[in-house]
Amino acid sequence: MTAIANNSAAAPLTIDGVIIDDAELKKRLDKAMFRSRFRAFLLVLPLLLFIVFSFILPIAYFLMQGIYDSSFSSKMPEVTKSLKDWDAVSEPTEEMYAALAADLRVVSANKTIGRVATRVNREFPGSRSLFTSTGRSISKLEAPYKESLVKKKKKWADIRVWQGMKTASRTWTPGYYAAAVDLKLNADGSIDQQVEKRRIHIKLFLRTLKISFLVTLFCVVLGYPIAFLLATLPVRTSNLLLILVLLPFWTSILVRTTAWIAMLQSQGVVNDLLVYFGVTDDGSRYSLIYNQLGTLIAMTHILLPFMVLPLYSVMKGIPPSYMRAAKSLGATNWTAFWRVYAPQTIPGIGAGGILVFIVAIGYYITPALVGGQEGSMISNFIDSHMRQTLNWNLAAALGGVLLFVVLIFYWLYDRIVGIDNMKLG
């Protein structure tokens, strides 16, 4: 590089009277490369578009729901405006009641009062019926609204309803992320810890991490010898065994999970054998399923191929001459394995480990089926907020936190092992 730069500085190259300096050269190179770059770009364009529209945008949209919620503010614009200047402690004014009545008329007519009620109910439980029942008789209300609303339902005088509305009226809100980590957003914008009997998410995140970590550990312990065996056997035998490893891969996850139920339940195969061999008696069979143990067993089995395959491909790439070299240099089998072979499989352990861990951390169907109460994970909660409570905003926030946790682990992995050291095959 320097040589070229020096040359051009000393005596600029000219072709047809045009001085070819560095900038001109760069320009010509870019021009020459443009066509091939453009063609390469066209090749990846379909995939790029597919990923953007089917993956990135939906996820971004969904994650945004964790901080964006216009279900109150868009439907109750007047109240939202009047709540803006309210200090959340003084008594609500007649103007605020009037704004409320005006908004309720609209949402009651266009049948969206349920969503407004649901939204406020999240902030102040028990206020849902207050909205829906008031909505049904809103046409009979007359000014002054403060008096008539409170007369209709005493609860309208309760300042907590108004505080709930003020919290709900935020379009951009940290409330859901706060809730996802057991905090609580107050009407005045401050954030407190959730009352103890409703703290659950942190505990679940920790449990999810613990289960994922243990599953990863078991997968390493069980998968390593299998992969080693596969990598050292003659190709014909190892291909056959590889099919056995892959077979579960090709079986529906539901089939596999229910098979574990048949195996592990208290009247199941394992317990029957234990009773038969007198390990336990019929009355005190072991609880192997519908608890954390069941989740661990079933998930380890299901995720094992994710560990075995990267390990196998890494081990397959380690020539036997390394072990031979170590032995010829005086190392015993164990030393040769531990000092020479094992360190070279770390990229495989890393790849398998991070794969299993990240898949496990978001695992849903297996813990739902065999986890019982103590084996359920954070994704089961996300699911229940998606399907049962319909609190998609909280589900999005929980998903966002989960994603953040995964990224942290990814970053840690990169710092400790180095992402370049990951080998999938």
Binding site: K111, G114, T132, R198, R199, Q373
Partner: protein
């Protein structure tokens, strides 16, 4: 999951000379014995009469799918069988089509629809077909310590040892816990309105928590009993009845402390085959269809006029259905109607608290 019950449909369409072009509607329900009863009592006769097709799908309750379909503007389902609280909630949120009782046919005895339906079974967006109940049942061959007969017995693991099955949801569990703790049925929701009431219910549940196996789908409890995973479990009464009637399982239902509720038809806003679905809704909530369903599963018809037509189990003439209905007078001595408004108001908060309790 999708069962196409096109049985006979094609042939009979011609025979019936149905004028309108054959439609296909998607009807979503809870699966298992319950869906089967609907297929036998509603789908097949309706298909035979109209030449239309019913595609039956299963789901596990809740409004999530309906919400997703309506909000995406891509509605696939024509009719959904929902619980009362979801019907009311979906209606309030504008997810459902409104219907009018005036459009529904009179009962077989000529009573106008609005007088024929039981009180509280007709709503702005929903019409009930059956009354069902959450009860508890036990396996008479496995239970020891006597014959359980009250709701308190379910919580008495000292006297009746063994695992218990409960739905992984606060609904029904909290009410049963309070009734078992001595709260009268008509005071249950009043007590639950207070923090102390909730604490009291959870404390009662705490007493058996270590022995609980949690279930989620309605088909699970009879299976748990049959597998010997539990000796007693809460369940939907029809599921237990069918296990006894069709499979001769040695299960017994305890009606004391039952919590009855409604199942209703709702139509998601923008349903693709609105007219045919509306026709199906009217047909299936007619006097005869409801009475026919009662010969397949022990859920009570929502029309008064069906009551007198309820006969025997479909393949066991000696098994009279009347006494197995949640609405049978003998079964209602200590019974509670599910309060949908209470649950609509407190569901989120109680779910959270219940889940936190579960995770403890």
């Amino acid at each position: 999951m999708i069962k196409v019950t096109t049985l006979l449909a094609a042939g009979i369409a011609v025979a019936a000379g149905a004028a309108n072009a054959a439609d296909s509607i998607t009807v979503v329900s809870w699966g298992g014995a319950y869906t089967k009863s609907q297929v036998e009592a509603y789908h097949k006769p309706w298909m035979a009469a109209t030449g239309n097709t019913v595609v039956s799908e299963d789901y596990n309750g809740g409004l999530a799918e309906v919400k997703a379909q309506v909000e995406a503007g891509n509605v696939k389902w024509d009719l959904v069988d929902v619980e009362l609280s979801d019907a009311v909630r979906g209606c309030d949120e504008g997810l459902l089509e409104t219907i009018s009782i005036e459009d529904f046919p009179a009962g077989a005895d000529g009573t106008a629809a609005k007088d024929d339906f039981l009180p509280g079974t007709f709503h702005e967006c929903a019409v009930a077909n059956i009354v069902w109940s959450t009860i508890y049942a036990y396996d008479s061959t496995k239970v020891t310590g006597g014959t359980p007969s009250t709701i308190a017995d379910f919580f008495d693991t000292a006297k009746y040892p063994g695992k218990r099955g409960l739905r992984k949801n606060p609904k029904a569990n909290l009410e049963m816990a309070l009734m078992a703790d001595g709260v009268a049925a008509d005071e249950v929701y009043e007590v639950l309105e207070t923090e102390e009431g909730i604490e009291r219910a959870l404390a009662k549940l705490d007493s058996i928590k270590a022995d609980v196996v949690w279930w989620e789908a309605g088909a699970q409890p009879p299976q748990l009993l049959a597998d010997g995973e539990v000796v007693m479990t809460t369940a939907y009464n029809g599921r237990i009845f069918n296990a006894v009637a069709s499979e001769d399982k040695p299960f017994e239902i305890v009606w004391d402390g039952q919590i009855w509720d409604l199942d209703l038809w709702v139509m998601p806003k923008g349903a693709p085959n609105k007219e045919a679905a509306m026709d199906f809704m009217k047909y299936s909530t007619g006097t005869e269809a409801l009475a026919a369903q009662a010969s397949w599963i022990s859920y009570g018809p929502a029309r008064k006029s069906s009551g007198s037509l309820v006969g025997s189990f479909h393949n066991k003439p000696e098994l009279k259905m009347a006494s197995h209905m949640p609405t049978a007078p003998a079964n209602l001595t200590n019974a509670l109607q599910n309060n949908f408004e209470f649950w609509a108001d407190n569901q989120d908060q109680l779910n959270e608290q219940f889940n936190a309790w579960l995770a403890k």
